[in-house]
Amino acid sequence: MITNLDISLVKGRKSYSQITEELLANTEGRPPLWWLAAFGLGCLALAFGGWAFYMSLSQGLGTWGINNSVAWGWDIINFVWWIGIGHAGTAFTIFFLVFRQKWAGSINRSAEAMTVFAVMCAGLFPLIHMGRPWLAFYILPYPNTRLLWLNFNSPLFWDVLAISTYLIMSLTLWYLGMVPDLATIRDRTKNKFRKLIYGIFSLGWDGSLYTYNRYETLMKLLGGLAAPLVISVHTIVALDFSISVLPGWHATILPPYFFVGAIFSGFAMVLTLMILMRKAFPIGDYVTEKHIDNIAHVLKYGSMVIGLAYATELFIAWYSGVEYEIYTFFNARASGTFSTAFWIMVFCNAIAPQAFWFKKARKNLVILFAISIIINIGMWYERYIIMVSSLAEDFLPSSWVAYHPTLVDIGIFVGTFGLFTVGMLLFVRFIPIIAINEVKPIARLGKDNNTKNEKE
């Protein structure tokens, strides 16, 4: 059934070849100046990260701000934050596939790319936050002569499985989704070298109906397989905290709360990137105001769920009557050492996105962009609050500490931004940012509808 929603999915009356032209523009020709500049900046950030990385590997984790009580700091905050961002891509593909939300088609590709790079950034942290990263293979279940096996009770081990599975799945989905487009580039390119490379990666795509048929089936199957993973990965990250005994961590609400939070922050990041890409590339007809409007609605909804989660946490802490929980939520978080961070979090996540009740806010690119950034800041603070407030002020007041990041902590965070930026820039340079093969079917629908509208 075609709903009104689909009407303006692709604007303008575009022929298929026109779509192809427009959507491949970014991969052809010389890179624009802004791209080179941004790429340079990204590399700079990456170099800063490289220095920080080197410091923590050569000197030890003492170069970070963590201490005897707060043993996880910016490392795990950033890990959870990136994992959260890494959610949206797959969620877009899967859930909108499942719920037949076709409008998402034009955003899938870049959202998935974002996922892949975000998960890569996230995956870095568990690796380097180890005291002895050169023994990281200890946490893989491999048979060995020492008869050592893993502790299956530990959520960290579940993390390893969940994240690596998720990364493989996201990569597969992203890549397979690209295959028809890569074939399009292969067919259009005149450069022999490019033809060879794209030829290899397009896996001999011939565009026949048979191929399309199988391709659709495969994507649906993969989507079905990936759907639970989207839920599991952040749930399991949440279990890292839920399984523990600490006040503020030991809560059953954390898995759903983390999941919603992840979708929320992922959508915010998608919004940020979409606004930037629309500015940079002529894709305004594909990623339309309607898309952006829809994302804003999702964010508004997510914000309410998050707000509810915060309120529930506070209520349960009070209702439990456990003095440690009450202290953590009401004294440490809401009114104590961490109150500034707490209220920043509440404002950014639960209050600011409520602006999207107003159409004006949803239409205004500046407001949209600002709120998308605010949400990502807020989500970072959320992880900060969870991580640090529970560790810094837990059971025995004698162990209460202050936590401050060091330059190396900051360097690693900036470095992951560099990695993400460079990754995304390479992506927009070499791969069609919008899935041509997914846009073309909706474009036709749109075209039909457009004609229908005209007739009416």
Partner: protein
């Protein structure tokens, strides 16, 4: 048929009863040997092993490993078995400080000091300084390696030749010479120095202590006509009133007093009695923290209350008063209480002021303490320093009247308030000799440095108490080209002997006749050496008659000094870890957190919160005091207003890497008032400077936030209900629910009990643990980042009013929870539970996710943030070949990136179990003692096996006072705490 041999009749009859044997956990080899699969190897296995051997041999031979040389003994010493520890009895002494010890030797290296339980004085107790003294032995950075003349290396022969001829010349010319030394507890050394003084007729022996107890002696001479330092019996005192005497931390003999005091503070249902302790003080000492009633006063107020108390008791007993001014403390009630406890009270004062001590004597006399809590049968040998003699020496010395001066065990350039005078004297004296063991301010300006051996390399003896002797023997060959002072003197006096023989002769001549156990002097010597101590029977009490004629004079002087004092006063007090600063270069002591302020690596001007508020000061503001010191301010609850408390022992300038320029030297604030060296005084001016300072503290939050972490009650309530203050335990026991089956331990189930009533916070356990378990020193900056590595910490909480809070201490180590939260979160199973209830760390397996640290509710796990061994950035003992000799070879030195924590001294458990297994018997209670429990001077820690129903720990676990920390989490810790009971008046 095979013949059956039988050994006993029981065996023949088939009813052999096995004696119970130590089973314990098997070694991996035993497990493999018992594994049935392991024995049945097939041809395939053989080929597999061939392949592996071949490949690994090829691979291994391709790698080049650094060559480390282990040189075997050419002649194996008779007693040395590699891997087996040898214990030698010896004695720690430093000025007035004394402790009979046992030294653990592994492969020729002394690695640990324990108290000697044969001593009836210390009964096996130690203190932090004694525990840490082993590290100073290996301080190759600061210790002198050879004799020095005018800064140049010289040889013993040259130095001896030159000095001998000079001394002879000076003696012949009748010139004045002096040897400056602290109180010497060693009778043999004293005799030897007297010998020297006889030979060199101009040689004066000037005894001078940095922290002096001279006034106690002098006051007894004034009030009783006898120069005696009585023996204190805190174990007989039911009421202790202390005026600024930190007898649990630094005053006179804290190790001995802690044990005595604790014996009166331990309480149980059979004996629900404990002593009552009232402390007046201007500092915040651990004695004050343990007191039932603590009154913060300024130093002059302390004197005024002391005098007023005297008058109150005098009034009550109908004696003549001193017409003291009234004070705003209810002295009459206190006087009444003291008189109620006549013969069971003990009043002590920390002031080294003859006038104060005379008043104290008068009070003790009126309270009937003499003969009861103060005895003179075996008086103490402390306090032989003579300040006035030293002052007159300095006056002459400064003018160059001495031809030769020798400094033995003393460092006046640091300890004296006017080092310029000493410097001038040394400059004007032709021959100045220092016998310093390691670098100090005085030795660096002397013309000769003839380095003494460390006490662990020396022969010596000591008599701390009349009739209680102990011996010190070398436990290692001198590490450097040093020679013990006694040998140096014997050499100069051209005696054909060494000090070992001299000491032996002394003991055989002087002490052998005092006993009748051993028939021959040789066996007496051998046994004494093995035992470490030799004690004769208690001597007769001196018949003391009190003479109060001097009291009014003393009162006048006190009144004058009180009136002289300005509004803001200061008090300089010996620091708990560093004492007088002699051991300032010991990083263990520097990093030991002050149990009250939790500050490491610093001294400071502690002021009361009210003072800070009215003067707009905050923690870390640097102030200058009397234009002599610059110190950061620390706001210390529980101090008197307008009073700054400053620790001595800091501000060394030539102590070595660790000790130099840490804090500032408060000795420079002290002064000589004509009769006493006064450690307190007036702050004439103080100013805030522009600089700021960040303290390295191990605890920042001081309130318990209303949580039942340390549970306490009062004696009255305890008598009504032994579980008073511990009501929560019953509640939690009733409501505890778990999904998991309760753990069951077949063999041993190790546990530790901590008696919060006996713990004084002295921190001996902290250093003992550090020494036993190779815990690294991390330095000031890392402590600031809250990364101290101590496996055992002492938490301190305040409660009540900030002007005078109550303090509780809580030693905290790994709880060895039966349901340990750390264990189930480790992804690689590096931390696991043993069959004996111990939470163990497998360092090799640890990858350092630190999840266990987060999930430990007690925060006792420590992470190796850096490589602390062999790392230039951590230039302490672990970065030196000498310093590493102190390491316990039974304990792994942890790599960077792994988590570590208290192991219940697993190496000790294993050793004791192996021994019992070899001897085919079961472990006895008390056979395994953890380092902390062994070191504790007040026996506050008891370690043992819960499965042994008769063990002390199993008994204490059932005490109604017992509770577990955070038991509502149902972690089932193996550490139990006994509630703190205060003997408070309602």
């Amino acid at each position: 048929m095979k013949k059956e041999y039988w050994k006993t009749l029981e065996e023949l009859q088939g009813n052999v009863t096995e004696t119970p044997q130590e089973t314990g956990s098997s070694t991996p080899l035993e497990i493999l040997a018992n594994d049935k699969n392991a024995t049945s190897s097939s041809r395939r296995d053989f080929l597999k092993w061939c392949g592996i051997s071949f490949v690994s041999a090829t691979v291994m031979s391709a790698c080049e490993n650094p060559v480390k040389k282990a040189i075997p003994y050419l002649n194996q010493p008779e007693e040395v078995v590699p891997g087996k520890a040898l214990w030698y009895a010896s004695t720690y002494q430093q000025g007035n400080e004394y402790c009979p010890i046992l030294v653990k030797n592994r492969d020729g290296r002394p690695i640990k000091i324990e108290g000697n339980t044969s001593s009836t004085i210390t009964k096996g107790g130690t203190n932090a300084r004694v525990q840490a003294s082993i590290l100073s032995l290996y301080d190759n950075g600061a210790r002198y390696h050879h004799p020095i003349k005018n800064g140049q290396r010289t040889t013993w022969q040259d130095a001896d030749r030159e000095i001998k001829s000079l001394l002879d010349t000076y003696t012949a010319e009748g010139k004045k010479m002096a040897i400056v030394c602290p109180t010497l507890l060693s009778p043999a050394t004293k005799q030897l120095i007297d010998d020297a003084a006889n030979k060199y007729t101009g040689l004066e022996v000037i005894s001078w202590d940095a922290i002096s107890y001279e006034a106690i002696r002098a006051a007894h001479l004034a009030t009783f006509g006898t120069d005696v330092f009585p023996e204190y019996h805190f174990d007989k005192a039911k009421l202790i009133v202390s005026f600024g005497a930190d007898f649990l931390g630094t005053w006179v003999a804290p190790t001995i007093f802690s044990r005595q005091y604790a014996s009166m503070r331990k309480i149980n249902e059979e004996n629900p009695n404990m002593s009552r302790h009232i402390q007046f003080e201007s500092t915040f000492s651990i004695s004050g923290a343990s007191a039932d009633e603590r009154i913060p006063v300024k130093p002059t107020e302390e004197i005024r209350i002391l005098v007023a108390l005297h008058d109150a008791i005098a009034r009550a007993t109908g004696r003549s008063t001193l017409r003291a001014q009234s004070v705003d403390y209810d002295v009459d009630t206190l006087a009444g209480e003291i008189l109620e406890h006549r013969g069971e009270a003990l009043i002590v004062s920390g002031q080294d002021d003859i006038n104060c001590q005379m008043i104290v004597n008068a009070i003790n006399e009126m309270a009937g303490s003499y003969g009861n809590t103060l005895t003179t049968g075996n008086p103490l040998m402390s306090g032989h320093g003579n300040n006035s003699k030293f002052e007159s020496f300095v006056a002459d010395f400064q003018q160059g009247q001495y031809a030769a001066v020798m400094f033995y065990g003393t460092n006046p350039m640091y300890h004296y308030h006017n080092p310029e005078a000493i410097a001038q004297g040394i400059e004007k004296t032709p021959l100045s000799i220092s016998f310093a063991i390691s670098k100090d301010e005085t030795a660096e300006v002397c013309s000769f440095v003839l380095p003494d051996n460390h006490f662990l390399e020396s022969w010596n003896d000591a008599m701390f108490k009349q009739g209680c002797y102990s011996l010190a023997q070398p436990v290692i060959h001198p590490l450097f080209n040093t020679r013990q002072v006694q040998d140096t003197f014997l050499n100069w006096m051209e005696r054909e002997t060494n000090f070992q023989e001299y000491l032996k002769d002394y003991w055989q001549e002087e002490l052998f006749p005092k006993q009748d156990l051993h028939r021959t002097p040789e066996s007496f010597w051998t046994h004494s050496l093995q035992e470490g101590v030799f004690e004769t029977a208690t001597g007769p009490q001196l018949m003391l008659s009190f003479d109060n004629t001097g009291l009014s004079g003393a009162m006048q002087k006190l009144k004058a000094s009180v009136e002289r004092a300005g509004n803001i006063e200061f008090i300089a007090y010996p620091h708990l870890a560093l004492a007088d600063g002699t051991n300032a270069n010991n990083p263990w002591l520097q990093e030991m957190p002050d149990p009250i302020s939790s500050v490491t690596w610093d001294n400071y001007a502690a002021v009361s919160p009210a003072f800070a508020k009215s003067n707009n000061l905050s923690d870390g503001d640097v102030i200058s005091i009397n234009e002599k010191l610059e110190l950061p301010v620390l706001i210390q609850p529980g101090l008197a207003n307008d009073c700054m408390a400053i620790a001595l022992g800091y501000g060394r300038t030539m102590a070595g890497k660790a000790g130099d320029y840490v804090g500032d030297n408060a000795f420079r604030l002290t002064h000589w008032d004509g009769t006493n060296r006064v450690l307190s005084g007036t702050v004439n001016n103080w100013q805030k400077t522009s600089s700021g300072h960040q303290f390295a503290r191990t605890q920042m939050h001081f309130s318990m936030e209303g949580r039942a972490i340390v549970r306490e009650s009062t004696l009255d309530k305890y008598r009504q209900d032994p579980a008073a203050g511990n009501e929560l335990r019953a509640y939690h026991k009733k409501h505890a629910v778990t999904l998991y089956p309760e753990d069951h331990y077949d063999g041993h189930h190790w546990a530790l009990m901590v008696d919060l009533n006996a713990c004084t916070g002295c921190s001996t356990c902290v250093i003992a643990c550090q020494s036993e378990n190779n815990v690294p020193v991390v330095g000031k900056d890392e402590v600031r980042r809250r990364r101290i590595m101590h496996w055992l910490r002492i938490d301190r909480y305040y409660n009540g009013d900030a002007a005078n809070p109550e303090v509780v201490f809580q030693p905290l180590m790994c709880m060895h929870c039966d349901h340990a939260p750390c264990e189930n979160v480790c992804p690689v199973a590096a931390t696991t539970h043993s069959k004996e209830g111990i939470n163990q760390m497998t360092y090799n397996r640890c990858v350092g996710t630190k999840y266990c640290i987060n999930n430990c509710p007690y925060k006792v796990r420590r992470f190796n943030w850096f490589a602390y061994a062999q790392n230039e950035a951590f230039d302490y003992h672990l970065n030196s070949d000498f310093g590493r000799m102190v390491l316990n070879p039974d304990v792994t030195v942890r790599e960077r990136g792994v988590v570590e924590k208290c192991s219940f001294c697993i190496q000790r458990i294993q050793e004791a179990k192996a021994m019992a297994k070899n001897e085919r018997r079961q472990l006895q209670d008390g056979e395994v003692v953890t380092a902390c429990a062994q070191a504790c001077p007040s026996n506050a820690l008891v370690f043992g096996d819960l499965n042994d129903k008769n063990s002390r720990v199993a008994h204490l676990m059932k005490d109604p006072r017992n509770y577990h920390l955070l038991e509502e989490l149902h972690t089932l810790p193996s550490i139990g705490y006994l509630t703190k009971i205060r003997n408070k008046k309602q």
